[in-house]
Symmetry: C2
Subunit: 416 residues, 2 copies
Amino acid sequence: MNAELITMGQNARIAAKSLALAPETQKNAALLAMAKAIRAHAQTIQSANDQDMASAKSKDLKSSFIDRLALNAARIEAMAKGLEDIAALPDPVGRLLEKWQRPNGMEISRIAVPIGVIGIIYESRPNVTADAGGLCLKSGNAAILRGGSDGFASSQAIITCLQQGLTEAGLDPHAIQMVQTTDREAVGDMLTGLGGTIDLIIPRGGKSLVARVQENARVPVFSHLEGICHVYVDRDADPEMAKSIVLNAKMRRTGVCGSAETILIDSTNLNSLKPIISTLIDAGCEVRGDAAAQNTDPRVKPVTEEDWSTEYLDAIVSLRVVDGVDAAIVHIANYGSQHTDSIVTANQKTAEKFLTEVDSAIVLHNASTQFADGGEFGFGAEIGIATGKMHARGPVGVNQLTTFKYQIRGTGQTRP
Amino acid sequence: MNAELITMGQNARIAAKSLALAPETQKNAALLAMAKAIRAHAQTIQSANDQDMASAKSKDLKSSFIDRLALNAARIEAMAKGLEDIAALPDPVGRLLEKWQRPNGMEISRIAVPIGVIGIIYESRPNVTADAGGLCLKSGNAAILRGGSDGFASSQAIITCLQQGLTEAGLDPHAIQMVQTTDREAVGDMLTGLGGTIDLIIPRGGKSLVARVQENARVPVFSHLEGICHVYVDRDADPEMAKSIVLNAKMRRTGVCGSAETILIDSTNLNSLKPIISTLIDAGCEVRGDAAAQNTDPRVKPVTEEDWSTEYLDAIVSLRVVDGVDAAIVHIANYGSQHTDSIVTANQKTAEKFLTEVDSAIVLHNASTQFADGGEFGFGAEIGIATGKMHARGPVGVNQLTTFKYQIRGTGQTRP
């Protein structure tokens, strides 16, 4: 294992210890100082990004990749503002989660505490450096960041500002560190936990990055591989509401994990089929449907078995007519990714059945799947969405980056 | 991978699905029917155990091992009673954990749901079969049990009763299954998750079993490797309370994970040293102490560096004089196992410092470490204690065997 990385892990572990006990005011002072430093050094960050961009453009990279790498004045300001927003959140550490008294008089409290050291592995998206660093700091965790090599100079310029903020507030600058090597083995070392110094890995990026992390990590991971989200339009759905939710769930933003990829429509509600298909196609969405859908509108393309398990992240949707809510639940169990699924219905009983039986992190009734987002939950900011069932499920905000301990206050109790 | 095990995993996954939706009354009916079946077949269970015992006695096994393997009428009745106690607990599934409303009117609820399929790997202690099976069932999880080969016949007789109870209550008998092979590869297969069918592993047994599981598991594990628990007697401790808590923490039962292994005493509280040492030695405990302790009482044996990180699980204790609460916290951070640690003091400020800064699953003020137990927390029954920081920490009862989902109820909301 890379000796520099081991030192980084050990320094992170020491920083985590002091950070866990840092008062709220000090953490917030650091976040505000970080924001200020980003604004003060905006030109340096922009120059570093220009350098990354020039190098990236000389390679044959996708335009979406280049777009995520690019910084400008607005994006740099958004990073600074994001850190200020995190400062404004309530402190997740020290929250009293539960409290009860035992018959012998002992008082048991369950208190939120930081997890420890969090490794963030991401692609060449410089703003993740500031977001992830800020969220980890607020939740009292040390962060080890490993961004994509194409954004190295940009991330380096940003991390300098973050560490300046930490130092100004009197916090250990090792609380947020960036891996200084861009070779791929560094990721492998992080996935093994850097000799017991990393407690948790959060990958941020495309499916291949997440798949690599999930397959090889020997420490816990918060992640989702993909968001194959469904909207089921029930027989008792209000037609206008169905149209509006389907359109929003698919088309508001097609590249986010909470966008719908499959629309399921009850077979006894074929009246809804035509307007829903028209609405989607008129909005520029390609609809791939089964025979019923194709018979309804000649613009519908044939769907294949593979479509049901495809996350398009694009203006394409698959559409299937199903026999009622039970068939919809079975379809979602077979093809879904336990991320986010929605039912549109005016029937309360059918809605409750769907909300209970669909085994996804987020299930909605009469609302768009695009609400699958920490900000929309009121979490303030999120570091990602998890579809695993352990610890955090759904949006991961600062509260979800904490664990807990039991504090017991007694008056001399011994156990009989 | 063993084909029989793969089938077992697939059957467990199917059972978990129906079990997750089983009403409380049905799960409780099954638990009561299981208890009844154990009583009805007590003779069969006893005969199977006699067979296991005869075979074990022909080997050269430790007497503590033989004792854990042995069943008798009282122990069989205790298993039945344990299942009835689990039936009497509130249903952990469907609990409303949090609920809030968003400005757009959407109502977000966080609801407890089962984890899925839990693998339990344990030694030749037949009662774990009933306990673990019952706790998993109550929490809506399917269980795959793998007990030690020396208790195979006993566990098999018990599992037959459990499955009879499941069937009588109309539940899938695959909800609790037992691995039918005693070869060690079966454990390895379980640790990889049986082809994605096991969500969580809980080991129950000695340190070598837990270490093997922790090292090799590719799925989440709830466990503690050891309980190196401390009692720190502060300068402001009430002398009588200190004596009584130290004695109880060490000697009530020496073989449990919450028993104290090291006593730390403030150097400005040397008056307490003599009575504490006398109390321990008079109760039959060997005290291994530093120079100050040896000077206080000639019966104190010298302590070595290794003692500080030794879990004796016996009537032996190490004792160190430290310079105040800060030194105690440092000692615990260096040598503890993040399990359970206690401070005895009348000083509220010192107590709060200890409760905040000691990074263990359970921290106590003026109470014995032997309260580290799900029953003592009011959890009803526990499947073990976890010292990891993810998901469950401290005693693992039925609530800790659940995860959650978000249910969102809207009235047609779309995201702007």
